[in-house]
């Protein structure tokens, strides 16, 4: 007789997903890892986990492709199938939490693509009720700028930002449990996006315009998408163009001390009425 499955419902970005397992220790790991994101909402999707012998997370490239009506998600440390019609999927993986994070991130990226949203390699934080995003290549300063944040700033993530259409004709950013170097989950809250900054470190703090084309190019470079799927790429390009047309996107050159947050805090006031993109 199969062991009874137990469920933890994890709600990230307002999308509740039931994660079920027959393994009590894995269930504990789920509950601890996503503690701030556990939910009593009715799940929209379900993932059943079957555990393989424990091992490290894999450095192999992830492969995500359609297989008939299902999505197939594969890496050295996990193998998953997910059917978007039923919202149900099965995952075979070891109990490594990084493998778990990877599966969840891929699933959310697929769900968000259908809903006009996306995951972005970016730190994000709420300042005075508005969300600010900080993206850039590794080493550009995502973690640095979150470390420099004043105490009244609410950190949504230092690594993977979660974005969906929302608010008044714009986008909303949500907190995620996907942590980077800070090793600290974001707060489970949301706010309308005020601006996206592409970070560079330099001798002074300054904000510069980006052309629409440059903004889209940088955005597409930093959106997380894993699928080898033409339809999905088309949807994401459409979403990126829409995002660029609605959200101010700038280059933020910053000297790594706390004064950069004064510039961020005053962005809305200083740049009111300035055309969004050259």
């Amino acid at each position: 007789m199969a062991a009874a499955r137990k469920v933890a419902c994890v709600e990230i970005g307002g999308i509740p997903i039931a994660l079920s397992t027959a393994d009590d220790r894995f269930l504990d790991l789920l509950r601890q890892r996503y503690e701030g994101f556990l939910s009593s909402s009715r799940p929209e999707f379900e993932l059943e986990f079957d555990l393989t012998p424990t091992g490290p997370a894999s450095d192999d490239d992830v492969r995500v492709r359609r297989d008939g009506d299902e999505w197939l998600l594969q890496r050295g440390d996990f193998h998953a199938r997910w059917d978007p019609r039923t919202g149900h999927g099965r995952v075979r993986q070891n109990s490594n939490p990084y493998s778990l994070d990877s599966v969840l991130r891929i699933l959310h990226s697929l769900i968000l693509a259908q809903r006009g949203g996306f995951l972005l390699h970016a730190a994000s934080a709420i300042c005075d009720g508005r969300a600010y995003l900080f993206s850039g290549v590794s080493g550009a300063g995502k973690t640095t700028i979150t470390r420099l944040a004043p105490p009244d700033i609410t950190l949504l993530t230092d690594e993977i930002s979660y974005l969906r259409p929302g608010g008044a004709d714009g986008y909303a950013a949500y907190g995620t449990p996907f942590a980077g170097e800070l090793a600290k989950a974001g707060e489970n809250c949301t706010a309308p996006v005020s601006a996206l900054f592409f970070l560079e470190q330099g001798p002074e703090n300054r904000i510069d315009e980006l052309s629409s084309a440059d903004a889209v190019r940088r955005l597409m470079r930093n959106i997380l998408f894993f699928a080898e799927d033409h339809g999905l790429v088309g949807m994401l390009l459409a979403t990126a163009c829409d995002f660029v047309s609605r959200v101010p996107i700038r280059r933020l050159t910053f000297y790594p001390d706390a004064r950069v947050w004064d510039l961020v805090r005053n962005f809305d006031r200083n740049f009111q009425g300035v055309p969004q993109h050259a």
Binding site: A213, M220, G234, L237, V244, S245
Partner: protein, 102 residues
């Protein structure tokens, strides 16, 4: 290949979107990204696989933009060669079926 017989069609492996007067084009096979200016966008949008490139340059580019016809033709051929090398455009001396509907 005689230039009068060049036919061009958009590949099915690309995603394209117009924004602020420019065309953003992404090859979904390798994620390469291109931005087309107004003239290039005009040629790209007219790449239906049935209209010869020379006709596109004469009836679209030269009518919409203040350009020298011979220079426009030379620039168009260079542009087509470059985009075809990245798999964005298909080129043939026979009419082609356009792979996209944009």
């Amino acid at each position: 290949m005689p230039e009068d017989c060049i036919y061009i069609a958009r590949s099915s492996a690309i995603a394209a979107r117009a924004l602020a007067g420019e065309m953003m084009v992404m090859n979904s096979a390798d994620s390469t990204f291109f931005t087309l200016n107004e003239v290039a966008t005009t040629i790209f949008q007219a790449a239906d696989g049935r209209t010869p490139l020379r006709e596109i340059v004469r009836d679209r580019v030269c009518l919409q933009f203040d350009v020298d016809p011979e220079q426009a033709q030379a620039d168009a051929e260079q542009f087509v060669t470059e985009l075809s090398s990245h798999g964005i455009l298909l080129v043939s001396n026979q009419p082609l079926a356009s792979e996209t509907t944009r």
